[in-house]
C-alpha cells in the first residue's frame, strides 16, 4: 500500500539570475513500512525535494507543478493552517541535517522536544516532559538528561535527540536528512542501529537522504538515485546494487570504495554536475555520460518502468540494452 506518492513534482527557486530547477518532474512511490534511500551529490535537489514534502521551503522556493499524495490526499491542496495542525509532525516529520546546529543552544533539550508536543497536541507540560523521557529511553539517552542544554550533549547524543524530536508526535512517515554525515564511524553505526531498531519496532516509513551509498545499502529497503533535479533510477535495494541500469547509478557505485573489496583503482565520473539554473537539454547526465548518443542531448528520457518496481530514465533502456 502506498503511503506517499509524488507525481511529476517540480519545485524551483527564484533567484536574480533566473529559476533554479532544483526539483524537476520527480516521480516516487513509497509503500508503507519501507525505508527509501534518496541518494545524490550535493546540489542535486534531494533536500529541496524532502523539504517540499513538509512545505518547509525557504521564501524563494516555488511550487511549479505536480502532486504529493499522502494518505490519499494531495498535500499541496491543503491549507497551511490545516497542514500544520494535522500533518506536519503528527503524520510527517523530519530529522534535520546537521544535528550539531539544529537545536537552539539557549533552551534545554527536553524543553525543545516538549515544545513540539505542546504545539501539536492538547497536553499538559508535565505529561509532555514524561513523554520526552520516554522518547529519550527509546533512542538510548539517559532520561535524566532532559534538563541538559545542547552543548552538554555529544555529537551522537544530539543526533539521537533530533531523532527523538522527530518521533515526538508519533508520525507515520519520517524524513531523515543526512542523519549521520557529521558523525564518526562508530557513532554513525550506533545511530544507524537506533534508526533500524525504531523502524522495526514502530513500523515507521522512512526516507533517508544521503550522499553515502554504503549507509543506504545498510539501512534501506529501496533506493532512488537523484541527479540534477531528477530521479534517474528507482528500485529495491538489492536490484540497485546488483543490476543498476542507469549509467549514473553504475558510475556512482563504481566510484564508491568498499572496505571489504581488495585494493583497486577507484574511478571517478568526469566533469561536474550541471548548474540547475540552466541544465543541459535532453538527458541532464549526457555531458558526463560515457554512453551518450545523439538523442541524449536532444530528448529528455522518460522515467519508465523496466521490470516490477525497477524504474529508470535513460534512452539506452528504451530500445537496446545498456
Amino acid at each position: 500500500m502506498s503511503i506517499l506518492q509524488v507525481q511529476d513534482l517540480s519545485m524551483y527557486y527564484s533567484t536574480m539570475k533566473g529559476d533554479v530547477k532544483a526539483v524537476d518532474g520527480v516521480n516516487l512511490d513509497i509503500k508503507k513500512g519501507e525505508a527509501v534511500g534518496l541518494v545524490g551529490e550535493s546540489g542535486c535537489g534531494k533536500t529541496t525535494f524532502a523539504l517540499s514534502i513538509l512545505r518547509l521551503l525557504p521564501y524563494n522556493g516555488r511550487f511549479v507543478k505536480g502532486k504529493i499524495i499522502f494518505d490519499n490526499k494531495n498535500l499541496l491542496d491543503i491549507e497551511d493552517s490545516v497542514f500544520n495542525k494535522e500533518f506536519r509532525w503528527n503524520r510527517l516529520s523530519y530529522v534535520f541535517q546537521g544535528a550539531m546546529n539544529a537545536m537552539n543552544p539557549v533552551f534545554k533539550v527536553g524543553d525543545q522536544i516538549a515544545e513540539a508536543i505542546l504545539i501539536h497536541e492538547d497536553v499538559e507540560k508535565d505529561e509532555a516532559m514524561e513523554r520526552v523521557k520516554g522518547l529519550f529511553r527509546l533512542v538510548g539517552i539517559d532520561p535524566n538528561r532532559v534538563n541538559n542544554y545542547p552543548h552538554e550533549f555529544s555529537g551522537g547524543m544530539k543526533q539521537r535527540a533530533m531523532i527523538a524530536m522527530a518521533l515526538a508526535c508519533n508520525p507515520d512517515f519520517i524524513i531523515a536528512d543526512e542523519p549521520t554525515t557529521a558523525l564518526d564511524v562508530i557513532v554513525q553505526a550506533q545511530t544507524l542501529q537506533v534508526i533500524n531498531d525504531l523502524r522495526n519496532e514502530l513500523g515507521l516509513t522512512m526516507m533517508l537522504i544521503t550522499h553515502d551509498l554504503s549507509v543506504v545499502a545498510q539501512t534501506c529497503t529501496s533506493c532512488a538515485i537523484m541527479y540534477a533535479g531528477k530521479i534517474v533510477e528507482y528500485a529495491d535495494i538489492d536490484t540497485v546494487f546488483s543490476e543498476p541500469r542507469h549509467p549514473y547509478t553504475k558510475a556512482l557505485i563504481g566510484a564508491f570504495p568498499s572496505i571489504k573489496e581488495s585494493k583497486r583503482e577507484l574511478v571517478s565520473i568526469s566533469g561536474t554536475p550541471p548548474n540547475l539554473l540552466d541544465p543541459p537539454p535532453g538527458c541532464r547526465f549526457n555531458p558526463r555520460c560515457p554512453y551518450a548518443m545523439e538523442v541524449c542531448s536532444k530528448e529528455e528520457p522518460v522515467f519508465r518502468q523496466l521490470v516490477g518496481r525497477h524504474y529508470a530514465a535513460c534512452h539506452l533502456l528504451s530500445g537496446g540494452e545498456a
Partner: protein, 330 residues
Amino acid sequence: MEGGSVELKVVDLKKWYPVRKGIINTLLSKKQQYVKAVDGVSFEISKGEIFALAGESGCGKTTTGKTILRLLEPTGGHIYFQDQDITDLDKREMKDLRKSMQIVYQDPYESLNPRMTIYDIIAEPIHVHHLADTTAEVNELIYKSLTDVELVPPEEFVGRFPHELSGGQRQRVAIARTMVMNPRFIVADEPISMLDVSIRAGILRVMLKSGEDKGVTYLFITHDLAYARHICDRGAIMYLGKIVEMASMDRLVNNPLHPYTVALMAAVPVPDPKIEKAKAIIGGEVPTPIDPPPGCRFHPRCSKATERCKLEEPKLVEVEPGHYVACHVD
C-alpha cells in the same frame, strides 16, 4: 615499497596544549592541565610510500601531521626527514625545507585566498622559494602544474578567482600549488572529505600520480577507512593521541588485533546490501583528551579490559613482521 629507505621518521612525538585556567584556579595554584592531542607517537614512512593516519575526530591525526611539518611546534620528541633531525631547525633552515615538505588541506574553500587569482596563488610559492628567474619560466611552471592536475587548458583558469571554480577544481588548484614546488613529502589532510563522491577518485589520482612518477612520500590523514584501504600501503590507527595499531592496510582491514581497530573496522558501512550490516560493537564516544584515562586510554570502552589495562599503559609492540599493536590483551 617495504624495505625502501626511510624518508620520514617520528620518534615519541608529543603536542600538548595547556588548558587556560581561570583566575581562581590560578590563585589556588591548581595543577596546569593539558590537552594531550598527540602523546608519544612514533612511526616511520619509507620513500615513495603512502601511509594512512586514521582515527575519529579529535584523535590527534591532524595535529600529528601539522607538527611533523613544524606548522605546530612539538612539545616533545623528534622528527627526522631524510635522516636529518628537523625538530630544532630555526625558521630560516625550515624555510629551505618547506619546499620539500608540503601539505594539502582539507577545505579548498578556506585554503585558497579569495582575492588572489589562480595565477597568483600558484606563483606565490614560486617567488617565495625562488624557483624561477624569468616571467617566462614562472608561467611555464604554472601552466605545467595546472596541466598536471588536469585543469586544462590552463589559460582558461589562470585569470580566474577561487569563487569561480567548483570545489573539486579548487582542490586541484591547491594540489597544483603544492606540486609546483616539487615536494618530496606531502601531508594530505583529509583532501577529499569535503568533495562529492563522484569526483573524489579524480582528485586522488592527480595528487598521487606525481608520487608514483617521482617517488614522493605521503602521509594521508583520513577518517575514511574505505578510501585509505584503496590508496594506502600501510597505516596507523590513532586513539586519543596515541597509535594503537600499525600495519599494512591489508592486515589492518583483514586482521585487526586491537579491540579499537576491530570496532572501527566493524562499524564501516559497506556499499553492498547483501553484506552483513555494520555494527557498533562498542558504545559511547571518544572522551576528552584533557586528563585521558590512566593505563590504556581505550579501557573504559573496551569489553576485554582487565585490571592491568587500568593501571599500565600498553606499549606498541611488533606482534608479527610489520604489525604493531598496543594492547595488553592476548
